[in-house]
Amino acid sequence: MRLYIAGSAPNSIQAIANLEAICREHLKGIHKLEIVDILEQPQRAMADGVLVTPSLTKVSPLPAANVVGNLNDKNKVLLALGIKGKVA
């Protein structure tokens, strides 16, 4: 998974916190998370087609998925990541 954030913008900080909580709860030890700060790596974010921040991309396993926003809606995030079905 890759999370694109923009420095210390409130939504970005919120997203990191939300994602870490989800990982702790549902993906303990089986995930790999990379956090990309667009303020530091704008070219890379552009190359990856990121538009708004924060934005989460599931790189693998396929199918790839995108979630935008501060990830406050946990259910939607789980659904997008394809986790919810397994757990429930």
């Binding site: 970005s12 667009i38 659904l79």
Partner: protein
Amino acid sequence: MNGTKRAIPQPLPKLSTGIEGFDDLSRGGLPRNRTSLIVGGPGAGKTVFALQSLVNGIRRRQEAGIFVAFEEAPRQVIANGATFDWGLAALAKSKLFLLDACLSPTAIQSGEFDLVGMLAMLKAKKQEIGAEWIAFDGIDVLLTLLHDPVAEMREIYRLRDWLADNALTAIVTAKLDNGHSGAPHYGFMQFMADCVIRLERRLEHGVSTHRLGIAKYRGSDFAAGEFPVSFGPSGIEVGAAEPAEIRHEASIERLSSGFERLDAMLGGGLFRGSSTLITGVPGTSKTTLAGKFAEAACRRGERTLFVSFDEGAEPIARNLSSVGIQLKPHVKSGLLRMYSARTETISAEDHLLKIRALIREHRPRCMVIDPLTAIAKAGGLVAARAVANRLIYMIKDERVTVVITALNEGDDPQAESTDLQISSIADTWIHLSYLVRSGERNRALTIVKSRGTWHSNQVRELVLSATGPKLTDVYTAGGEVLMGTLRWEKEAEESARETRRYAEFDHKRRELQSAEAHTGAQIKALQLDLQRQQAELAMYSNDNEVRNTTTSDREEKLRKMRSADPAARAPGAAAAHARRRIAPDPEKKGGNGATQ
């Protein structure tokens, strides 16, 4: 609105959009390093306006630009832009950067997001390509995803601050339907922008027309009001009001109208760069007159444009060839360009643009529009009037000599002025009419006006024949104008009278010649008589002298032979002798003889 405010002391720096007409309305373009907002309904031309400004910036001034597409993928934007002559695909590889800002439909939204990341990317891109322009096309699409008016407002603020910090000339477009937007951000966006432009598309008499108006422009004067917009090959063109001051060069060069007689009636022909209006009811040979002008122009080797409405180029050429006007060879040689258009489906504005494009493409020196009144068919008369005026001014600006025909339904030349009201702009106004008399319809030509030149006030008859149209004198008899066969009769009568008069004159001349010869002969006879008499007289006097001389000699001899006293006789004899010589009078001769 600050329409009357003028930034004279320190003019607002502006960047030209290169959009035909708009730079005039906005007195120079969009405010540099500031934000301009373009609002309008779907299909009003917002994207084209934004993209065209960027493209022109690159092509004219090498100003790089970033186009952020929220509504369409860059691929689509490029494909749509390919309908204009921008070379967009090539530009997109160099100085124009298109950012795909369409949120993927598969993306799931969870909670709030912001534009911080995107703006950071754009900043990096701006530094990379040195962008001067940035366009956010359809920003409302993204903002509405926030589902939160407060958040929307916050992002707009963020955008405004970012633009202010980054010294970019920005164009932001947002959808707006009929001047009313449900989106709460609209009011604030207006506030944030220094220049607000409204684009609108509406239907008028079943024809789609576009309008543009500048709603506000901080720190600058601008033309208030709504202006027609049309889409030409180079994108949007705004039908800006003509500059109040007319600056047309006045040429004194004369061009032939194609008719020697008409040229003479106009005092030598039409002025180069002038506009001539030919009015008349249907069938009065307006097209023929215009065609003759076009043919004459081509014969002089001048590039010519023939625009016809509601009649195809082929039929026109064929019809004109039946009266001896040959246009086809000139079309083949490329000198003459014929363009025909239908009028029902396109608005007058679009015709104007098409004609302008044709003028720029063909670069004619002479042109014909036949009939201009046709543009009033679609889209309403008011619009057509404005277009007709602009068209004539535009043609004059291009210094093209134009002949325009206009149809008037009645047979009164004054009726024309109520239609398109172009007669006041035209330099020369020729009116064609029918005169019906004695079961005939004949064409009459009059010059209603011709600025700056002497012109004939006479009515002429226009006669069409296979060898070509020509103008002939009309006869006025008993206060009525005679044409057609009546004119022919009158001509025949006149001709017969002329012949008779000539015969009479000839007869008289011969008579006089004969009398003169007779008198001459008489003089000669008398002279001969005189000579004869003179000769006789001379002969007579000579004879007399000889006889006198002989007589005196004989007397002398006689005296010598008689031995008379010479001293006593000599003086008397000598005196008598002298007297005889001085006056050889026959009467005195007798006297003398008596003294002896």
